[in-house]
């Protein structure tokens, strides 16, 4: 076994030092008859054989780069510079643990500090944590945090929040006594949806959760909603599932958000069939101590030199146990590093240009879609994603195009199976989409809808 350095001679010598004669003497606490069960699995294989097996599995998937590709809905295909992957594979980053020994973990700690700064700047908030699992769990944690801050239990969830985020919030409050007000999705009239969310806020409301760009790609000015919520003493939680949009749109902080949560995958990280992803979580200074997750802070060492440590861990489970702000232990360190590196390369100026290019692609896509008979584009304001209404079930059309090698979008029914949105298709266009692929999409849709 190529990963195991002990040889049989070592093993014998070590057993002798320990004073036992057989390895199973060390397992003597295992109940009788349960040691060394037969395991019906294959024995070890060469690296070549394993590569062949995995390679064969990988080839059974249609990779996004294999043809025209327009999927989004919470996971976006962007171009990640080769530098990013090179740097995150440095053994010192890849094979380090949580930086509990700061003297020999400044590499991790400093990039986490840089990450926190970037996330705070992008969201327009005061502070950000060192990442959570993903956007959906970050959203759930935000709802729980709002309860701790407001000591209220009633959370209003906008209807145009990503269907999976809504489902995760339901799960995370399933065994607490939180009450979720779940509004219906409205792809056709986003302003009405926002008005409904505003109307649902009352004196018992802990928070209102609203996404922009929303799951259908609509953009929202949340200023009025925030004012209304604050008037009632509720917090505003803004969800952003496409981090590149921060480069184009008024920041949630500027629109009055109290907590901003998001999916950071778009910057630095690949699609990876849904994971690992990167939960962004930012808030106002005043709510800091109710924030979940790891935090990195600046300090000095014994020589007075600036350095970084994990801090405020009295919020966390390893200190507070059942009284912790959450049970979270792991963050998404390496994904946060990828984000930080990519964001350092982009800078604010580069992110702005990238976002503009995304918007340009989406405008071109929207115009092409609008020209296809049987297709209605529902969005007037959007970033890099739009929703269209077709004259037949969207899943059927998407499957048909997939068979032709075109991954055309996410049917809304897959996110909201019971909401009667069967004819809606959600399509994204990023900088990775060449104009000819947009044309190919238009042509294929035209044919499919004839």
């Amino acid at each position: 076994m190529r990963y195991l350095p002990l040889k049989d001679a070592d093993r014998s010598a070590m057993l002798t030092s320990i004073g036992v004669s057989h390895i199973d003497d060390l397992f003597r606490d295992v109940p009788d008859g349960l040691l060394n069960p037969a395991i019906d699995l294959p024995d070890h294989q060469s690296e070549l054989a394993v590569e062949r097996h995995l390679g064969a599995l990988a080839r059974r998937n249609h990779a996004a780069g294999d043809g025209p590709f327009f999927l989004g809905a919470g996971a976006y295909r962007h171009h990640v510079p080769a530098t990013v992957d090179h740097l995150i594979q440095r053994g010192e980053f890849l094979t380090a643990y949580t930086p509990y020994q700061p003297e020999i973990a400044q590499g991790t700690l400093q990039y986490l500090f840089e990450f926190q700064t970037q996330v705070a700047a992008l969201t327009g908030m005061d502070v950000a944590n060192a990442s959570l699992y993903d956007g959906s769990t970050a959203c759930g944690e935000a709802i729980l945090m709002a309860r701790r801050v407001t000591r209220r239990k009633r959370a209003v969830l906008s209807g145009n929040l990503h269907g999976h985020y809504r489902a995760v919030a339901e799960t995370m409050t399933r065994f607490t006594d939180d009450e979720l007000v779940l509004l219906d999705p409205d792809a056709e009239n986003p302003a009405a949806m926002l008005a409904a969310a505003k109307d649902a806020i009352d004196d018992r409301t802990s928070c209102v959760v609203v996404q922009t760009p929303d799951v259908f790609g609509h953009l929202h000015d949340l200023t009025a909603l925030s004012e209304a919520a604050h008037e009632k003493g509720a917090l505003v939680i803004v969800v952003v599932t496409e981090a590149v949009s921060f480069g184009a749109l008024t920041s949630p902080g500027a629109m009055g958000a109290d907590i901003v949560v998001g999916e950071g995958q778009s910057i630095g990280n690949g699609l990876n069939y849904g994971g690992p992803y990167l939960g962004l979580f930012a808030t106002r200074d005043k709510y800091l101590r109710q924030m979940p997750g790891r935090l990195c802070g600046e300090t000095v060492d014994s020589h007075g030199k600036r350095g970084y440590v994990l801090t405020l861990s009295t919020r966390e489970q390893h200190i507070r146990r059942e009284k912790a702000t959450s049970n979270i232990c792991t963050n998404s360190g390496l994904c946060a590093l990828a984000f930080t590196v990519h964001m350092a390369l982009l800078g604010g100026a580069g992110l702005k240009r990238l976002a503009r290019l995304n918007h340009a692609k989406a405008c071109r896509m929207a115009d092409t879609l609008a020209g296809v008979p049987g297709v209605t584009v529902l969005n007037t304001a959007f970033f890099n994603e739009v929703t269209v209404r077709l004259d037949r079930p969207a899943a059927e059309v998407a499957d048909r195009l997939a068979a032709q090698g075109i991954l055309a979008g996410v049917p809304a029914s897959r996110l909201f199976p019971a909401a009667g949105l069967d004819t809606l298709l959600i399509l994204a266009a990023t900088e990775t989409v060449p104009d000819e692929d947009i044309a190919a999409l238009g042509a294929a849709l035209k044919e499919a809808l004839q």
Binding site: H62, D134, L249, D301, C329, K352, H359
Partner: protein, 483 residues
């Protein structure tokens, strides 16, 4: 070696990324365009490479040496796993692609599930939890859902004091009250006390096995029987599965639910604190109470069940937006196929052998907390430092000067000044001998009164000891441009 922050290095308006121009188009941002770009200076690519290369060199990783962090299982991270996870067929597929276009991905998840079920002897597995603590949540939610399904939610969860902090935190998250279980002098659960605490308010008992003292719970079958007799469920924290994989099946021990840290037992990299992955295996009693989504066999190959169907659906819901940590699934399966059943068992044996060897060799120099044999980690307390003026913290920091990452300190809480040493199976005997020699040297130095060597340690690290109190009292959590 002082590395500025990227914000101190960068220049406004600079970018290290070239992009094609957007071409002509009409803006459709609906008046919501960001007014000022984010105040994040950019850097040219060479500057970015240097900054992060230099930062990396301030870190210690497994690739540099022994990383004996007990309870964390810092073992070798094979680069083959990284290579496989980057195949475009895995790395460049979207979580919402039509299932017909991701049959290989679903087959891989099904493969991984088969390995996990076979290795644990349990009939069902949920892959989507994003980390160990998330797996605990998944397991405890399944337990609560099962109890509610029989109209019997109960209110209490029992945990030993030696448990990872995530255990009580998770139980609280599920609305349970946490009660402690006492331990015996030999470091194991007191079965009598446990039995006495078990009544019809107890929903579950959460145990780690091998436990956080590095010991196998020898009465585990009796414990499981008592739990089941009380109508409760047995949740096992599988953080230490590395010690027993291929040697004992948790299913045979009476476990109802157990998470498996893929980043510990199956060597997906820790990455400076994540991402992890924490699949949960379930017993027959819980197997219907699993989260969505999951892979199933459909008429045309694999399918994905994403939403509940009908009232009889027992799932407690969705834990995360998509299917879980696919990148980690690829790495873990690569690791499993590389080892095979024979290699996994050998790995567990070598992990246990290495820990016992350390404990045996250091006995007399340091003070093992319990009689051996241990499992994959050796627990010491600070009795050997008594009267030396050297604390566990000092001792750990002095290890840095010897070229090692310190062991886990002050955990578990049940012994004084704990030092938990986990070498893992990927260390050679020569490497262990060198490590043992270094620890002996330190223990002897402490006893010989060489306190300077400890109180100011580390001396040979990128930084001296950091002021954690100041960090917490005056939190500075982001860079702000000086006025």
């Amino acid at each position: 070696l002082k590395e500025p922050l990227i914000f101190e290095l960068g220049r406004e308006g600079e970018t290290g990324v070239d992009l094609e121009g957007p071409g002509a188009f009409d803006d459709r941002l609906g008046g919501l365009a960001r007014e000022a770009e984010a105040d994040l200076p950019g850097l040219a690519e060479p500057e970015v490479v240097r900054h992060f290369t230099r930062l990396s060199r301030l870190n210690y990783g497994i690739d540099m040496g022994l990383f004996p962090l007990g309870s964390c299982t810092m073992k070798h991270n094979p680069r083959l796993n990284e290579k496989m996870a980057r195949l475009p067929g895995f790395a460049d597929i979207h979580p919402m692609q039509p299932v017909s276009t991701v049959q290989g991905a679903l087959a891989l998840m099904d493969d991984l599930a088969h390995w996990l079920k076979t290795l644990t002897g349990m009939p069902s597995v949920a892959l989507s939890p994003k980390a160990g603590a998330h797996g605990e949540l998944c397991g405890m939610m399944a337990i609560r859902a099962a109890l509610e399904a029989r109209g019997d939610a109960r209110s209490v969860v029992l945990c030993p004091e030696s448990a990872h902090g995530t255990n009580p935190a998770t139980a609280a998250f599920c609305g349970y009250k946490v009660k402690p279980i006492p331990a015996k002098a030999n470091g194991r659960v007191d079965v009598g006390a446990l039995t006495a605490a078990l009544d019809d308010t107890v929903a579950a008992v959460m145990l780690t096995n091998p436990n956080t003292c590095g010991l196998f719970e020898s009465d585990i079958r009796e414990i499981a029987d008592a739990i089941h007799a009380a109508g409760a469920f047995f949740y096992c924290d599988g953080a230490n599965f590395n010690a027993i994989v291929g040697k004992v099946r948790p299913g045979d021990l009476g476990v109802d639910a157990m998470h498996i840290n893929l980043h510990k037992t199956f060597s997906t990299p820790h990455g400076g604190g994540g991402p992890g992955s924490g699949p949960v295996v379930f017993s027959d009693a819980l197997k219907d109470f699993v989260p969505l989504p999951y892979v199933s066999q459909g008429a045309d190959g694999f399918a994905l069940k994403e939403w509940p169907q009908g009232d009889d659906d027992a799932s407690f819901g969705r834990l995360v937006a998509f299917q879980g940590q696919m990148g980690m699934f690829v790495r873990a399966l690569t690791y499993m196929l590389s080892h095979g059943a024979d290699g996994l068992r050998q790995a567990a044996e070598d992990a246990v052998l290495n820990a016992n060897y350390i404990m045996a060799e250091l006995d007399g120099h340091m003070t093992p907390s319990f009689e051996g044999p241990c499992m994959h980690e050796a627990l010491f307390d600070d009795r050997f430092l008594k009267g030396t003026g050297v604390s566990t913290l000092d001792f750990a920091k002095a290890m840095i000067d010897e070229g090692y990452h310190p062991m886990t300190m002050y955990f578990p809480l049940v012994v004084h000044g704990a030092m938990l040493v986990e070498p893992t199976e990927t260390e050679s005997k020569a490497g262990l001998d060198q490590f043992i020699g270094a620890l002996k040297g330190l223990a002897d130095a402490a006893k010989a009164g060489e306190t300077d060597r400890f109180s100011g340690a580390p001396y040979h690290a990128p930084m001296g000891r950091l002021d954690e109190t100041r960090a917490a009292r005056q939190p500075v959590l982001r860079y702000r441009r000086p006025d």
